[in-house]
């Protein structure tokens, strides 16, 4: 699948992977900004701005934006993470010009006052929705507890108070600072014509203003190491997260870290599956590697009946201690590898799957990687690479948060109970 790249004079980067046999084309605008780029006064502004992007421009009202996307049958959405805001659409090949026109237009939003005030209510509803989901709530609190003062601990959604306090001008200031051309990557994947695509992007985005890029606060962290219990009487199950450090996104160890996470906590055949799910102790158990710019982390989680939390947490700690001391076996590594290889192949069959892979690789690996590059990277992970991950990023000194009906829970190390 041929790869192409082009840098516009204003610093906006365009990359594409063409695949003439694909049924569709996927398009994305990757803005390299997220919750970690907010000041404390701007808490929640990145995600709120992602919503406001859909509320219109001088050429389109909010309703026009939705109608124009729907008229071309686009499969479209956006998401905000700790460090990226991504707007994406998959369309039939003949509609790619319209999709570029809409996405490029809305990336320069009007941020009208009445839309701003209306959307505030929607954001507060979204916060309320997540508040009612204990597993999500536990994840969010655990992440903040782990990262503490580190900017990766910033809340993506913000709080009802921070959202209420935000002004339209603050959002506009943030937009001008972060949505500059050199901070945006435009990606396409699938069935499309590259020279024509570059012309379209140039026409729509060539005039976007330049500006400084990059971010502060990029550093590794070992996490706070704290142990906290959040009591919620109305919650049925106890939801527990343990977070420990991992390699950053541009580390060559990321492939080993991914496989290690799967061997410990994939939903079938992993250490946690056999320790927790198979005997019926927990109704969910997971361990996965999350990567960010400059830092990474392993998120280990489970939910179980409150009265079994102590026993279950001790078992999880035991699994982590054992892996830390003895690593995983060749057999476990191969098992995880088989699963990942199959997932990579299947994920790459849809242009929207490739869109995300090509975009994220450009951002974090600073270049293009084919599906086969990815497959080879997983194939070449050795047990000594796994060992290196464990040595540099110990699993057994986790930051722990439990959310549920329990008032007290003893830390497996015997410290920090509350």
């Amino acid at each position: 699948m041929p790869f192409h790249s082009h840098l516009l004079a204003n610093g906006l980067q365009i990359v594409g992977e063409t695949s003439p046999s694909a049924r569709s084309a996927a398009l994305g605008f990757f803005v390299r900004t997220g919750a970690r780029d907010e000041t404390p006064e701007e808490c929640g502004v990145t995600h709120f701005l992602e919503h406001m992007v859909f509320k219109g421009t001088p050429r389109r009202t909010a309703l026009d934006v939705n109608r124009d996307f729907d008229r071309i049958g686009a499969d479209y959405n956006a998401f905000t993470s700790e460090e990226n805001t991504v707007f994406h659409a998959a369309v039939l090949p003949e509609y790619l010009p319209q999709a570029v026109d809409i996405l490029a237009d809305i990336l320069r939003p009007s941020l009208r006052d009445d839309d701003f005030n209306m959307e505030k209510k929607v954001i507060i509803e979204e916060i309320g929705m997540y508040e009612d989901q204990p597993m999500w709530s536990a994840y969010d609190h655990a992440k903040r507890l782990y990262f503490a003062e580190h900017k990766l601990g910033n809340s993506i959604l913000g709080t009802p108070a921070s959202i209420t306090a935000l002004t339209r001008d603050q959002m506009h200031g943030y937009f001008q600072r972060r949505y500059v051309a050199p901070n945006i990557l435009v990606v396409a994947a699938g069935n499309f014509d590259w020279p024509r695509f570059v012309d379209l992007v140039e026409k729509h985005c060539g005039h976007w203003q330049q500006g400084a890029i990059g971010r502060g606060g990029v550093s590794e962290t070992r996490g706070s190491g704290r142990f906290e219990v959040m009591t919620k009487d109305k919650v049925m199950q106890e939801h527990v997260f343990l977070i420990s450090p991992g390699p950053p996104a541009d580390s060559p160890l990321r492939y080993a870290a991914d496989l290690l996470g799967m061997a410990i906590g994939d939903d079938s055949g992993s250490r946690l599956y056999w320790a927790l799910i198979d005997p019926g102790l927990a109704d969910s158990a997971d361990c996965s590697f999350h990567e960010y710019e400059g830092a990474g982390a392993f998120y280990t989680s489970f939910s179980c009946q409150p009265e079994q939390s102590e026993e279950t947490l001790e078992l999880v700690a035991e699994v982590l201690r054992d892996v830390q001391a003895n690593s995983i076996s060749e057999e476990e590594l191969n098992q995880a590898r088989s699963k990942v290889l199959s997932r990579v192949v299947r994920g790459s069959e849809r242009p929207k799957g490739r869109l995300m892979a090509v975009g994220m690789n450009w951002i974090y690996q600073h270049g293009y990687r084919t599906v086969d590059d990815e497959l080879r990277a997983f194939e070449s992970v050795t047990l000594s690479a796994i060992r290196e991950v464990l040595e540099r990023y110990p699993l057994d000194r986790a930051t722990t948060l439990a959310l549920g009906p329990l008032a007290q829970l003893t830390s497996p190390q015997g410290n920090g109970s509350r």
């Binding site: 694909a22 049958g73 509803e125 508040e131 939910s303 069959e349």
Partner: protein
């Protein structure tokens, strides 16, 4: 591009469906066995879920660990689900590993060990699954709605009840498996980079001597009350509203679908509920409506989750929008639905899992697989007047309303 679809029903009643997708490297399969939770013994609700979990804890020559290990080494992403009418077992991996995976699934379906000593753990999981529902307000309200929409056993939920789960014994699980896991009425669909003839030969060898049929007649309980409120102290109130529609195969089916899509089209944001309730009023983050279908009946089910203080207004606006449908539909609204369905059908071609599940579902409902052209031409034939005619025959009304939150709403 015309999909290459093959079908064969074996003498024992098992139907094999396959779609060859040359442009992909993977393959997905989907077994539908008519053993959904509607067939759970009334005093052992949750039986289907317990059986589904036990199925993969050892089968044929493999014990539980070996089975998981071998499936993992095939790179198989998999799952077992219990729907109302069917138990479905699906898997997806690279195409070259499909035959080996199907060999193991023949054991899982036909020769599971259903080990006695694992029953207690499986019951504990089923019980926790049931408790977890309390921590998922949207699922909770949706399960409760079905209890008020359908008579038993159509209102059964896969999670069953705590009492039902407790009463399940190893013998009962084995009897349940023997009674419902029969070849007749079972469907296996496969989509991906596969060859039809070798696949058919393999399935004939693995399942050709699978036997039996079951009397699947259901007897229904009484129609439950149409209103309910579940009191719980939450940030948001969960609202669901349902009203009758028609199932696939009915002459009105496509216009019924058109009417639902005017309210809420899959993936689209210009449809009415999103526009009126979220965009114009900021009343919620999530609002949607969908077409919910059994073979002989169907309903439209609408959902909204909203802050408690604004819940009454949300319900009022939602009901008003449902009733306003009959007053008129714009040509533009229908054109947007047509564009969405066209691109959805084509993009489905990029996913082996979507295609495998489409094949099985069409076969269950229609005993045939619809072509893209058939669906597209039915959708292209829609117009505001055709949808409005349908709405005159089936006006939104006679609502079943279920809410979950701190305060009951007026309706």
């Amino acid at each position: 591009m015309q999909p290459q679809i093959n079908q064969h029903t074996f003498a024992n009643g098992l139907t094999l469906l396959a779609e060859r997708m040359e442009h992909v490297r993977s393959a997905a399969f989907n077994f539908l066995v008519p053993a959904g939770c509607a067939f759970d013994p009334p005093d052992q609700l949750g039986m289907g879920t317990v059986l589904a979990d036990l199925l993969t804890r050892g089968a044929g020559p493999r014990d539980s660990r070996q089975l998981t290990f071998d499936l993992d080494n095939l790179g198989l992403d998999r799952g077992e689900g219990v729907g109302l009418m069917h138990m479905h077992l699906w898997g997806a991996t690279v195409a070259r590993n499909l035959p080996a995976a199907l060999e193991i699934y023949a054991d899982i379906l036909r020769r599971p060990h259903l080990p006695d000593d694992e029953l207690e753990a499986v019951q504990a999981l089923a019980y926790q699954d049931l408790r977890s529902l309390e921590d998922e307000p949207r699922s909770k309200v949706s399960v409760t709605l079905r209890k008020h929409l359908y008579p038993s056993p159509l209102s059964n939920d896969r999670r069953g009840t705590a009492e039902g789960i407790a009463k399940i014994t190893s013998d009962a699980v084995r009897r349940h498996h023997q009674r419902w896991f029969k070849s007749d009425g079972a469907i296996l669909s496969v989509a991906g980079n596969i060859e039809w003839q070798p696949l058919r030969d393999q399935i004939e060898r693995l399942f050709g001597d699978w036997q039996g049929s079951a009397d699947r007649t259901l007897s229904f309980g009484t129609q439950p009350p149409r209103r309910a409120h579940l009191a719980k102290d939450l940030e948001q109130t969960q609202i669901t509203v349902a009203y009758p529609s028609v199932p696939i195969g009915h002459p009105d089916y496509y216009s019924a679908l058109g009417a639902v899509y005017v309210l809420s089209s899959p993936g689209g944001m210009s449809s009415r509920l999103f526009t009126e309730i979220r965009e114009k009023r900021g009343l919620c983050y999530t609002v949607s409506a969908g077409h919910d279908m059994l073979k002989d009946r169907a309903n439209v089910i609408a959902y909204a989750g909203t802050t408690n203080e604004r819940a009454q207004e949300t319900l009022d606006v939602l009901l008003a929008e449902l009733c306003r449908l009959q007053e008129g539909i714009e040509v533009e609204e229908v054109e947007r639905i047509q564009a969405g369905i066209k691109s959805g059908l084509i993009m489905q071609q990029e996913s082996t899992r979507s295609r495998a599940s489409f094949l099985a579902s069409d076969w269950y409902y229609l005993s045939r697989v619809r072509s893209h052209e058939e669906i597209q031409s039915a959708i292209d034939g829609l117009s505001p007047s055709i949808i409005l005619d349908h709405l005159r025959r089936y006006p939104p009304g006679d609502f079943v309303i279920v809410t979950l939150g701190p305060k009951a709403l007026k309706c």
